[in-house]
């Protein structure tokens, strides 16, 4: 039953007693027309190949194709659930994702807010331009840079430690340090780029709001709480919800490059485990099964969070 509010027409508001869905459809046909090409795209290029996910339940053989490959039900799910190190893999994935939520997620927001408070446009612009640049580096390069800072023999940090009288530490080979290194290097690389989104949100806040607030005697902090924060909140909520939807994606490009045998205990995640099964028989099916698993979890989380968000903050994705 459609709750759609009818658009006001030239003839004033029309509120009939009951609205059939088809009437509404007709009235909104131009909206439907606008949305049609996009939906067609999603149908053809997202949903159609998505049916290929069925190989997660098959022993997919690319010579036999999807039609003729054998069915194995939940075999692949069982396989990766019974992988002896799976508990560790799950724990690592969850912890790293949690750290990303707690540290990596707020960092660009903080940056955007701080930049927003800067008066001098040139300073603001210069800093902002510098700060997004690392986004363009590959993780291999970023690892190389990290190595320059943290390496045992020639790393800058160790040189500093030794000057201060401490022993050098082999940071890159310490399991305890791994997650911090991942989070910090991730923030270093992406913080400036993601901040662009939040800056765009902040720019959209009407300056007259600030002016009237100042006239009313509001100080910087109050302006922040009542205007700035309100303006950026929708963006934060949306980004958070989107992040939750892909929560189990750990950023395999980064982690794979930084991992070494000494840090597997804290760094081996679902994605690196998947990658390691390599290009072998059943690999496509296993990868798809793991992907499905991650997606289901992410989707459930997103649905719950969306409901919560709408109840608490009045905003949601859908």
């Amino acid at each position: 039953m459609s709750n759609a509010v009818l658009s006001k027409t030239k003839y004033g508001e029309i509120k009939p007693k009951s609205t059939s869905a088809w009437t509404t459809f007709y009235k909104q046909r131009s909206l439907y027309a606008m949305v049609l090409p996009g939906m067609l795209f999603f149908l053809l290029f997202r949903y159609l190949p998505l049916t290929g996910s069925i190989i997660a339940f098959q022993d997919y053989n690319l010579f036999k194709g999807i039609m003729n490959s054998d069915w194995v039900g939940f075999k692949w799910f069982e396989q990766f659930f019974t992988y002896p190190n799976m508990r560790r893999v799950f724990v690592n994935t969850l912890i790293i994702s949690l750290y990303q939520l707690i540290f990596s997620f707020p960092a660009p927001i903080l940056l955007a807010l701080l930049l927003n408070e800067v008066r001098r446009a040139r300073l603001k612009g210069t800093v902002q331009t510098i700060v997004y640049l690392p986004h363009f580096l590959s993780w291999t390069i970023v690892f190389g840079l990290t190595h320059m800072v943290l390496s045992l023999n020639s790393g800058l940090l160790n040189q500093l430690l030794q000057v201060l009288g401490f022993d050098a530490i082999n940071f890159l080979m310490k399991a305890e340090a791994f997650r911090s290194i991942i989070i910090l290097s991730g923030i270093w690389k992406e913080m400036g780029w993601i901040a662009i989104i939040f800056l765009a949100a902040l720019v959209g806040i009407s300056p007259t709001l600030y002016e009237s607030a100042k006239i009313d005697g509001a100080g910087r902090w109050q302006q922040f709480v009542h205007i700035t924060w309100q303006g950026i909140k929708p963006a934060i909520i949306i980004m958070l919800l989107l992040k939750l939807g892909v929560i189990l994606d750990s950023g395999v490009d980064q982690i794979y490059v930084f991992l070494n045998p000494m840090t597997l205990s804290t760094g081996d995640v679902l994605d690196t485990y998947t990658y390691r099964t390599g290009v072998v028989e059943g690999h496509y099916s296993l990868t798809t099964a793991i992907g499905l698993f991650k997606s289901v979890i992410g989707f459930v989380l997103l649905a719950l969070a969306n409901r919560l968000s709408k109840a608490v903050a009045g905003e949601g994705l859908y």
Binding site: N260, M262, V280, E281
Partner: protein, 523 residues
């Protein structure tokens, strides 16, 4: 108004896309049509008669593009390609797939049903699926009929590597460096510490200790040398395990069963060696985090004493060290793999009897043309062609000597023909390509490689399923690293690893390996 413009723009875009799609598929069609037109028939040289097939048959070959300059535009417009087509009396269409994900590209093409007549592989399977799904054509009869040069110039050990149950499944390039990795040492450093070439693992430890203690690179600091420079269990470091005749992932025999090397009791000795080396400061403390370029930096800047690579790499290391550290007067030589303490078998690295292999698919309409194509490449004329190119383009003859012009490769976009170099050592080409001192170093390295090494007993076995995949690769590295770096008690840690390895499916894997070996390879 604006609405109209907007839609026009979108419409134009769509039109553009359709046009680009159409024109590309047309171009593809043109290529095939041009390819089907007959070329001049081959001239049979004296003593190298090949049965000619009328008309010249089109053959499609997939190969990776590696680092060679590739022909742009239509393949057969390239002079080198034309020459090849004429000589082999075929119409080759070589499609170069990106090297970085070559196997994945192969699988995508297979999934779409785009089968070639032949494709480049390494051994019988690179886990591309063709062998285990029965898509490869046994070549025995075709080789008998159309491959006299193949039979003459490819040695038996190479054929054996691509034969299963008497059926030959590929055309192999025999390797002239069968023991595929070799250890290199700074001979000048050895001389400075007045030690001979180490013949056993204990002697090697002594050499490393001398490198550590003395200022062998002469820069005033005795502590900056890295006696043994490895990366993190890389392929280039295999000779360390090889001192005990083992490789972590290479199948070997123990008490009648076929097991991966890492499970063999002798493997612990190699671990012991590495543990000692690390704890005594003989092994690079950063070996787990050094990537390829950092590792090379250490070698080139005159800081490494011993390292590993393929045998033929010897003179390029020499070159690079000379360029980066000219004052070092370095002398890089390959050494026979020292024999591990307590081991009385053959040390070395895994024997890879073949380099690249060309596999012919059952779907091929002209398999005899493929065999003929490769047969010519194995004739003396073909060997010279594939290695140093075409007279007048890549080399010229002066006073009976061949003068090879390396610059021609880029200009003429001809280097890709190295993908079809299928022979071992061709003396003429060898002499044309390298000068005397290069040849000396290379030959010495090849000689060492020919006299050591051990085979993989399950060479040619179809890939194991993914549930066992985790038992290879990095599975052992974690336990090994704890032993080597953290100095964990060796026997306790390793035995615990082996036990959990067996429980995780290792025992089943051993059964599979053993069964396959006794039914397929044991003669």
């Amino acid at each position: 108004m604006k609405k109209n413009i907007h839609w026009t723009v979108v419409g134009l875009l769509v039109l553009m896309l359709i046009l680009s799609a159409c024109s590309s598929s047309n171009a593809g069609n043109n290529r095939e049509e041009a390819g089907a037109s007959p070329n001049a028939s081959a001239e049979a040289g004296p003593g190298e008669a090949e049965p000619t097939l009328e008309p010249p048959s089109p053959i499609k070959i997939y190969a990776p593009d590696t680092s060679y300059a590739l022909p742009s535009g239509k393949f057969l417009d390239n002079p080198t390609a034309k020459y090849l087509a004429e000589k082999t009396n075929t119409v080759p269409d070589v499609q170069f797939l990106p090297n970085t994900n070559y196997v994945e590209q192969l699988k995508l093409k297979f999934a779409a049903g785009d089968f070639p007549d032949a494709f480049l592989g390494f051994g019988l399977t690179q886990q591309d699926g063709a062998l285990e799904n029965g898509l490869l054509l046994p070549l025995n009869d075709l080789i008998d009929k159309y491959g006299p040069n193949l039979k003459k110039n490819i040695p038996q050990y190479a054929w054996d590597a691509v034969t299963l149950n008497g059926q030959i499944y590929g055309i192999p390039e025999p390797s002239i460096q069968p023991s595929a990795r070799e250890l290199f040492i700074r001979k000048d450093w050895l001389d400075k510490v007045q030690l001979g070439i180490p013949k056993t693992s204990d002697e090697l430890l002594n050499v490393l200790r001398a490198f550590r203690d003395q200022d062998v690179n002469g820069n005033g600091d005795p502590s900056d040398e890295i006696p043994l420079a490895t990366r993190a269990y890389a392929w280039s470091d295999e000779n360390i395990w090889g001192m005990w005749g083992l490789q972590p992932g290479v199948s070997t025999e123990y008490e009648g069963k076929i097991i991966p090397g890492m499970i063999h009791p002798r493997f612990k000795e190699a671990l012991r060696f590495l543990q000692t080396a690390y704890q005594e400061g003989l092994l690079d403390k950063e070996f787990l985090t050094s990537d390829l370029s950092k590792w090379r930096q250490k070698i080139y800047s005159d800081r490494a004493g011993v390292w590993g690579w393929t045998p033929e790499g010897v003179w390029s290391f020499q070159n690079e060290i000379d360029a980066t550290s000219p004052n070092a007067n370095a002398d890089v030589i390959g050494i026979p793999t020292p024999v591990g303490a307590g081991f009385d078998g053959t040390a070395g690295a895994q024997i890879l009897p073949t380099g690249k292999t060309y596999l012919v698919m059952k779907s091929s309409k002209h398999p005899e043309a493929v065999v003929q194509f490769f047969d010519w490449l194995l004739s003396n004329e073909g060997q010279i062609f594939s290695e140093i190119g075409i007279e007048g383009i890549n080399y010229k003859k002066e006073n009976g000597k061949i003068v090879y012009d390396p610059e021609s490769e880029k200009k003429e976009k001809s280097e890709w023909r190295l993908l079809f170099e299928m022979h071992g050592l061709n003396q003429t080409a060898f002499e044309a390509k390298y000068d005397e001192s290069q040849r000396a170093k290379l030959q010495a390295a090849y000689d060492i490689s020919s006299h050591e090494g051990f085979p993989n007993l399950t060479e040619g076995m179809p890939p194991i399923s993914s549930e066992f995949q985790v038992l290879y690769g990095t599975a052992y590295q974690e336990a090994a690293s704890k032993i080597i770096v953290d100095n964990a008690p060796l026997d306790a840690t390793w035995d615990a690893f082996v036990e959990s390895w067996r429980k995780q499916g290792g025992d089943k894997l051993i059964e599979q390996l053993t069964t396959w070996y006794y039914s397929n390879k044991k003669k």
